[in-house]
Point group: C2
Chain length 410, copies 2
């Protein structure tokens, strides 16, 4: 791991035990030396599962497997995640490799193969040496522990500079439940969905169908609203497991009023994790929030916000601490959504810079430049045609991004 | 101008005189000191005009004017281009500024305002000091000359490191005609259309309607097939003027057989200019050709090729001379077009790297790495689903790009 991102949260969050989940990590030597590169989580029998995956049309073998497992079982008993090798673009060999790993884990856990979930992250195009995983799996199962969170959250990291964790508590009908989540991701972060691996666990009793609905909604304003470099990984995976150990009364549908607090806490935890991914964007030196309003629809607002957030010219201007609002408006123009050139308004750090499509009279750049020198940058753009609003988070584009990505494999 | 791009053509092309065109350049002091920042071209009465412009929904005032002039007159008598200030996001003031400039030029040339074309490039969001242009316009008109090409082609440059010129001859029904073109552009180069200014002149007699058809077709495989950073300028302008001085027989429609050679030469000149823009991509150290085949359609092939060419992860890998074919395939996946994961094939520098979605047996990276160390990189990707083909050209993403764009205004 290189130097911790200057945007990292000041206080790391330690994940407490969560009923029905035991974890461990192991060094299989898939790619990295001297560090863990495999995490194993064992979930209580009957744990409900939900998931959201990359929209890439060339998804990795683990993603194809998880989609199938979710569809066929809706339950999770084991989660295996390795770093160092994404097992993507490994053809039929990659599929076979997933199958061998899953079968070995299913035998150890005494469950159907479809209750084993796998995720892989790292170099793509290189066959996964699954033998290194299956060889140590029995040993790893022997080391599972309710306190294995810290090891697990670190074993899945690649170019990340800090572990990303979040925990929340919620109440369902008077019964306290907990949510723990951790994730990895620093580059290839773009909707849909944010390119990363994220795993969320709760001891709440929520059936798979309801869990899937909550996850799909929660992801829209969190992982699907962040972008680092507009690239989309073949391996994006977000899994949510509910062990049911908290003993709340059964929930029948996603609209159940008893779920209100749980939903709120889940959404908040997802956003917390997603923003940590942006704060660890490869080479990031600034965290940028792009608020777009006045668009024709919510969807249009999001497209415009993403066009701004993904523009290399905007991102390099931020890196250069240059209050170059013209580039923001350029990006609005290329988004392909309706905008009124003569009603456009731009604020940077809360200071009105442009109004009615032109720079404000007597514009004083000093306070805006001061804002650009900080680490948390805010752009507010009103495109003047409707009521659609959206917020997208991103980071700047720096020399360090190029260093990291120009020599990732060497 | 900074150091000339290492990818610049070895032998600069000087543009010869062309019947019906006189040019000059002038230093107005709009932004740059000690260099020309305005070019003026006077075209023979009756010159036909055609144009293609940015698809940005927040197009600049000069673009709005040119669209109107083309629609209303189809003729061109004067072309004024300034660098240093794009007159974009200047609201109604920008429109008024164009109008004053156009009126002054029309009076000097003795033509309707709708026969005056204008283009501006440079910083956006700053009001254009048009008074500095109109004040010297009379003087500039006095200096127009058939040999003014070299001055004109240089006056329009901004972050370009070399002037971009091309000249061709063609035959229409036994009559020799000439085409001269020059352009500028180094960043914000992306379809549609490539973000830049380009001006092409011919002495052929071709009516405006036919000219427009030829230009629209020619641009698709040239300026609309290149990308530097995926950003789209508000000011993209490509104008084509035909003075008719060569005296070929009148042409009635674009399908006229007599135009075959002219079309070929025009297409070739447009591609030549477009590729010079890529070779001068901001900070570029490698020129990259992306050939996609096997797509569902030509359009699908182009979208896939653009996804590869615009991927920051592919572009930084090229900068790092890393034969990271996995990133190419990642980009195929995010393009949103049909691809067969298990039929994908990738060649780098002509060497087969992956086949059937996985790395070839006994893959020897040495010749591929050697290719990556060169300056002209070629990717061939077959996505295995159909017969659609397309080629897109781009450059790598380097530290220099960030340096140039992080401090453009300062």
């Amino acid at each position: 791991m290189t130097a911790i991102s200057p945007l990292a949260p000041k206080t790391p969050v330690s994940l407490p035990p969560l009923a029905g989940v035991r974890l461990t990590a192991y060094a299989c030597g898939l790619r990295y030396q001297g560090r863990n590169d495999l995490m194993v989580a064992e979930l209580a029998p009957g744990t409900a599962a939900a998931g959201v995956f990359t929209r890439s049309l060339t998804a990795s073998a683990p993603v194809l497997w998880c989609r199938r497992a979710l569809a066929e079982s809706g339950r999770g008993r084991v989660l295996l995640v390795n770093s160092g090798n994404a097992n993507a673009f490994t053809g039929r060999a990659g599929i076979a490799s997933v199958r061998r790993t899953v079968d070995a884990a299913a035998e150890l856990a005494g469950c159907p193969a479809e209750e084993v979930f796998v995720a892989s992250t790292g170099t793509i195009g290189v066959p996964l040496e699954d033998g290194k995983i299956t060889a140590i799996l029995g040993d790893a199962f022997g080391k599972l522990s309710p306190g294995g969170w810290a090891d697990a959250e670190r074993a899945i990291l690649t170019t990340d500079t800090f572990p990303k964790t979040a925990t929340r508590t919620a109440v369902i009908d008077g019964v306290g439940v907990r949510l723990n989540g951790f994730c990895k991701g620093a580059g290839m972060i773009a909707p849909d969905m944010a390119t990363m691996l994220a795993f969320v666990f709760t001891d709440a009793a929520v059936p798979a169908g309801v869990l899937q609905t909550l996850l799909a909604k929660g992801v829209e304003r969190s992982f699907n609203s962040i972008t680092v470099d507009s690239d989309t990984s073949t391996s994006d995976t977000l899994l949510l497991f509910a062990t049911g150990k908290a003993g709340n009364r059964p929930i029948a549908d996603a609209g159940d009023r008893g779920l209100a607090d749980f939903r709120r806490q889940l959404d908040d935890l997802l956003l917390d994790l997603a923003l940590q991914v942006v704060r660890d964007g490869e080479g990031a030196s600034k965290f940028v929030r792009v608020n777009v309003s006045g668009a024709a629809s919510k969807r249009a607002a999001k497209r415009i916000a993403l066009a701004i957030a993904n523009s290399p010219l905007v991102k390099t201007a931020v890196a250069g601490e240059d209050a170059n609002w013209g580039r923001i408006v350029m990006a609005v123009g290329k988004a392909g959504e309706k905008a009124d050139r003569d009603r456009l308004s731009v604020r940077i750090g809360g200071v009105q810079v442009a109004d009615h499509g032109q720079v404000v009279a007597g514009y004083d750049e000093a306070p805006v430049t001061a804002h650009m020198k900080g680490t948390d940058i805010v752009f507010d753009v009103d495109v003047g045609v409707g009521r659609g609003k959206a917020t997208v988070w991103t980071c700047d584009l720096t020399h360090a991004y190029i260093d990291i990505n120009g020599s990732y494999r060497t």
